[in-house]
């Protein structure tokens, strides 16, 4: 028989999470940089479902001056505003950072004309009309809004003219060229057919009133797909087959999952089967989610899909998928092999950590420029933590954000949680939702903007320590056409070593949660002075070679200017 002493010895595990001690990687500079946006979710004791889901952000160059501005989507007031109460609106902050200076933003919402006061969710950006500037689409609980860029940093609301103001509750959206005509089409993810009248009372694990699961409403909503052509946008949902499957949609990623020369769409649904819309090249889609092994997790169970990214984690040239999920579910990694996916979450090093938290915004980027991707996850619960368990006594839904440092072991890249949580001096603990990723200062590293419910937005300036003088970087903007329109969904690759191994990055703003990101592909080079053998696989499947490019710069790769493979 085992004695009590020996048994107790057996049961005493390491008390703390196995975390890699790491220096601080990010500094929160929102207030100092002039970004004074406070998200308002309008949370009430009625626990209306949309209250707990919102908060998107877009990084876009709205004025064409070469740096990334910030567009922050406001919740505000869900439903009718009480008399005399002004609705808060979305805000646009122009990036006025001087070269080498601290981050500096100026609120230009009013002059830009983009201050929608609807109850907002997310944003998608792109030059859909190919006139050389970036347009802005905003999703709402209620009619969505399309702001068309006038070319001078101001916008005109052309929602009605373009007929894209679908009134349902939309979440993520993306602009991409689905049919190879060079123009950006628009995919809009819808969540529930929500209205106040379908709100119901639900209870959490403790039997107390709390937010419902979306399935309690039994009202998942079909998505909307608009093609853009000579006559503007056309609702092509039925014609393209997008009505054939649906769920409680939240996250959205776009990429060529089967490498057949067209862009496919992946929709992360909340507690319903995820959708992989495989494109036949003419923008006719078939949902292959379950058949391709990425509709459900490895157990065959639908998970609460939130943020999602197409990313080549195993460096084999195809796009894998990574998705954030609810507490008691892992964040899930679907490895891609020939367009078929396997849930290999347990091999990443992130699964065990993630089951305690609810992940929303997420992004793989090489934050420390060591040549290996890292992962940032913005967490925040959707059901209250009990008093004794709370991370923030004031907000039962608050959770810490996480940074996972990527390390390469042989063929495999694995990730380890860093401490302090989120790699900021004081852990960011909030009800985090949208997170956007991009180089805000133009200094070659990737910064993060995180939106927390009912809190001031966090602007996380990247201050990750470099390995001595070894860190270096390179970035690429994929463009096409006479006006150099930004191409969404091109895959840029560079040679990683002498043996011909390559690294692949998407140039695509559509990933994470409710957010639009830096559309450039970014590589850490770990000290190399040159990015060797740059190649681009364009969304139409064609491949061009662009030779070697010096580190420390953003390069424009124009379609047709490279050497055809």
């Amino acid at each position: 028989m085992i004695t009590s002493l020996s048994l107790l010895a057996l049961i005493t595990p390491a008390a703390a999470q196995d975390a890699t001690p790491a220096p601080v990687w990010f500094r929160e500079v929102g207030a100092a940089a002039g970004v004074d946006f406070v998200h308002m979710a309008d949370r009430t004791d009625r626990h209306r479902f949309p209250e707990i889901m919102g908060g998107g952000v877009a990084m876009l160059d709205h004025d064409g001056d070469g740096d990334l501005d910030l567009y922050l989507v406001q919740g505000g007031i869900l439903g009718e505003a009480p008399e005399g109460v002004e609705r808060p609106g979305n805000r646009l902050f122009r990036n006025d950072t001087e070269p080498g200076g601290p981050l500096r933003f100026t609120d230009v919402t009013e002059e830009a004309g983009v201050g929608s006061t609807a109850y907002g969710m997310g944003a998608a950006c792109g030059d859909f009309d190919r006139d050389g500037d970036t347009d802005l689409f905003v999703t709402n609980v209620g009619p969505n809004v399309m702001y068309v860029n006038n070319g001078d940093g101001t916008f005109t609301d052309k929602t009605a003219k373009l007929k894209v103001g679908d009134p349902r509750w939309a979440t993520s959206a993306a602009m991409f060229d689905a049919n190879g005509d060079g123009k950006l089409d628009l995919y809009v993810v819808n969540n529930l057919g929500w209205s106040d009248s379908i709100e119901i009372e639900c209870f959490n694990y403790y039997g107390e009133p709390d937010y419902c699961s979306p399935n309690n409403y039994n009202a998942p909503s079909a998505d909307v797909f608009y093609t853009f052509g000579r006559l503007g946008f056309t609702d092509a949902t039925l014609r393209t087959g997008i009505d054939a499957a649906f769920g409680n949609g939240l996250g959205l990623a776009v990429g060529d999952s089967d490498l057949d020369g067209d862009l496919d769409v992946y929709v992360a649904n909340d507690a319903t089967t995820n959708l992989l819309w495989v494109n036949d090249g003419r923008a006719i889609f078939e949902d292959r989610g379950i058949r391709a092994g990425c509709g459900l997790n490895g157990n065959g169970t639908p998970e609460a899909g939130m943020g999602v990214q197409f990313v080549d984690l195993d460096e084999d040239g195809d796009l894998d998928l990574y998705m954030t999920h609810l507490r008691r579910e892992t964040n899930t990694f679907y490895r891609n092999r020939n367009g078929k996916f396997s849930d290999m979450s347990n091999t990443t090093g992130t699964a065990g950590v993630s089951i305690k938290f609810t992940g929303f915004g997420m992004g793989f980027q090489d934050f420390d420029l060591d040549g290996t991707l890292d992962l940032y996850v913005a967490n925040g619960a959707v059901q209250a933590w009990k008093e004794s368990e709370r991370f923030d006594p004031e907000d039962p839904y608050a959770e810490p954000n996480h940074l996972f440092r990527g390390t390469r072991k042989g063929k495999r890249v694995t990730f380890k949680l860093t401490q302090p949580a989120g790699a900021t001096p004081d852990p960011i603990i909030g009800v985090s939702r949208g997170a956007a990723f991009g180089d805000l200062e133009g200094d070659g590293d990737v910064d993060i903007v995180v939106v927390d419910l009912d809190a001031r937005v966090k602007v996380l300036e990247n201050i990750a320590p470099r390995e001595g003088a070894a860190a270096s970087w390179v970035g690429f903007q994929a463009t096409s056409g006479k006006k150099g329109a930004i191409v969404h969904g091109a895959t840029v690759s560079i040679a990683r070593d002498e043996e011909g191994k390559r690294q692949y990055r998407q140039a695509n703003p559509a990933y994470s949660y409710l957010s639009s990101n830096d559309p450039r592909a970014h590589f850490g080079l770990g000290g190399a002075a040159v990015a060797r053998d740059v190649q681009v696989r364009w969304p139409d499947g064609s491949v061009e070679l662009f030779g070697d490019r010096p580190a420390g710069e953003y390069h424009v790769l124009q379609q047709g200017a490279g050497q055809k493979q």
Binding site: Q17, G193, Y205, N299, N346
Partner: protein, 573 residues
């Protein structure tokens, strides 16, 4: 006084021996001075009264036996059964303080820590438990699961192998499908799909239809490059969830699940299973404290409806609408109640018409009465569905029920024109539902049927195929696709679907009869004969079967082309 330890009794084999010794030690243990008060919930005012009562009872027992490790653990089980893991964990902590050798509570604490997401702590507990209960499948399986998520893939594989090996060492050998699938998953992580596939097949032999095994087999087959077979398995495994071998606490945890949502779900399950007496008993308990809430009233109406008491169901739904006016789910339930009765009447009318066609004399007054009742029910159904669609216009299923109401009304239409109008209106509602997204599982089939009624075979085929996509082995779905292909005169494409129907409907007379007829339609006499033999074998001694067989055999003898005489020269044009 110590409560007897029923859980210890239920542990089997070598584990039982070990535990018996440990329990003896526990009884002799002196109470710990540091164990403190049991964990409680400060504010229970918003919680389900049934759960609060249960917790109060168990707390009272602890107050009476403050040094009882089992009493603390019992409270832990109650918390855990209601997914209050953090408090359950603290109860098991206290039990372990009172009885450091109570390994079963260490096991439960590990499970709770795992559920709370404290993976490393959980693995510590589960590893320690697994050292003691080496031969208990559920303990090894739980450890394997936790290790797998922690990324300790080889250790996870070893634990799952131990879980399977332990089966042989039980007094009664029971082989668990869940353990084979668990091991298969570990092997997939380690990129060993062949053995994983073999284990899943073994699991399916043990538990045919076990979804988790189907799904894991599908993933293994994809890895092996067998895409087509893999896809079929993935679809068969949709909505699976992982299971474990049964544990000693499973029944108790289930019995303690008292939260409102859980109690409602249990009643729903009882209703679905047809156990109406038990459902009513449990419902009465809920009605006592929450009988004025629409969710409870609606559930009571469903129970009444299933019990055949439509009048009571209507009363309850009326009360529910008083409690929560314009509640869409109540309105849709009212609509369903009316449509169900209308459907029965439509069936009666069809039977009567068939009898009349065979020469029976019918009472026109009865026919008219039924017609009027059917129409009236469709009208009220439509009113309810329309009210739901008005209250929640962005919910696709509300529009679907408006469409079904119109479609059902077509059965009672006075003439072809009126019927056409009803069908057209139904289509408009279905299209709205389609655009918004409709969760009703039979939606595509309903659309296929509607298009069939409207004489639009192309659309009928489109939606029949969509429906089949979701339920690839469903015999009705396969039959509808075959019918649609015939209607579209695409007979060349029918044969694979007939073969699928033969496989899916093996042993089922209606499906096999349909196959015979379909083969005859495409003049595949060999296929017809083969299906006919299966049909005959499925209904031995059935005179109607024999009659059909004779008729088909005669038909084949008559219609089968004679073997052509050797051609004089060249191919026929």
């Amino acid at each position: 006084m110590m409560r007897p330890n029923p859980i210890a009794r239920s542990l089997q084999g070598a584990a039982l021996v070990a535990l018996a010794g440990l329990s003896g030690a526990a009884q002799a243990q002196e109470p710990s001075a540091t164990v403190g008060d049991p964990p409680t919930i400060a504010d229970t005012s918003a919680m389900d009264p049934g759960l609060v009562r249960l917790l109060d009872e168990l707390l009272a027992e602890i107050a009476a036996n403050p040094t009882s490790a089992d009493a603390r653990a019992e409270l832990g089980l109650a918390y855990e059964g209601n997914t209050i893991w953090s408090l359950a964990e603290r109860c098991y902590d206290q039990s372990l303080q009172l009885d450091a050798e109570g390994t079963q509570w260490l096991f439960r604490r590990g499970i709770c820590r795992f559920a709370s997401g404290d993976l490393e702590l959980a693995i510590g507990d589960l590893r320690a438990t697994a050292e003691v209960f080496k031969n208990t499948p559920v303990v090894q399986a739980r450890l394997g699961d936790a290790l797998r998520i922690a990324g300790e893939l080889e250790a996870a594989e070893a634990a799952w192998r131990r879980a399977i090996a332990a089966e042989e060492r039980q007094p009664q050998v029971v082989r668990y499908a869940a353990s084979r699938v668990g091991l298969a998953q570990s092997l997939l992580d380690l990129e060993q799909p062949e053995e994983a596939a073999a284990l899943c097949r073994e699991a399916l032999e043990l538990a045919p239809g076990y979804r988790h095994a189907h799904y894991t087999l599908g993933l293994a087959l994809l890895e092996l490059g067998k895409d087509e077979a893999g896809e079929v398995e993935l679809i068969a495994g949709e909505n699976a969830f992982p299971e474990f071998p049964p544990g000693p606490h499973t029944a108790r945890l289930r019995a303690y699940g008292r939260g409102f949502g859980r109690r409602m779900m249990v009643i729903e399950n009882l209703v679905q299973a047809g156990e109406l007496e038990e459902a009513n008993r449990r419902l009465a308990e809920i009605m006592e404290s929450r009988g004025d809430e629409y969710l409870v009233l609606n559930l009571a109406a469903r129970v009444a409806q299933r019990s055949g008491d439509g009048t009571r169901a209507r009363e309850l739904l009326a009360q529910s609408l008083e409690a929560s006016p314009n509640e869409p789910s109540t309105l849709i339930q009212s609509c369903l109640l009316d449509l169900q009765e209308a459907g029965q009447i439509a069936g009666q009318l069809t039977n009567m018409q068939q009898m009349a066609a065979q020469g029976a004399t019918l009472d026109p007054a009865v026919m008219t009465q039924l017609q009027d009742r059917g129409k009236a029910l469709c009208t009220t159904a439509l009113e309810s569905a329309t009210a739901a669609a008005t209250a929640a216009p962005t919910v696709g299923s509300n529009h679907y029920w408006v469409g079904v109401s119109h479609q059902t009304a077509a059965s009672f239409a006075a003439d072809q024109n009126a019927m056409g109008q009803s069908l057209q209106t139904a289509l408009a509602s279905f299209q709205m539902a389609q655009r918004l997204g409709c969760t009703e599982p039979g939606f595509n089939m309903q659309l296929a049927n509607l298009y069939a009624q409207m004489g639009r075979p192309r659309e009928m085929l489109r939606y029949a195929l969509r429906h089949l996509d979701a339920v690839p082995r469903d015999t009705t779905a396969l039959s509808t696709v075959i019918q649609a292909l015939i209607s579209n005169q695409r007979t060349a494409e029918i044969k694979p679907y007939i073969e699928r129907l033969r496989a899916a409907g093996a042993g089922q007379l209606p499906a096999l009869q349909f196959c015979v007829q379909a083969y005859l339609t495409i003049a595949d006499f060999d296929g017809a004969e083969a299906a006919l033999a299966e049909f005959e074998a499925a209904g031995p001694g059935n005179p109607q079967v024999a009659q059909f067989v004779t008729a088909v055999q005669a038909h084949i003898a008559r219609e089968r082309p004679k073997a052509p005489a050797p051609a004089a020269g060249g191919d026929r044009p």
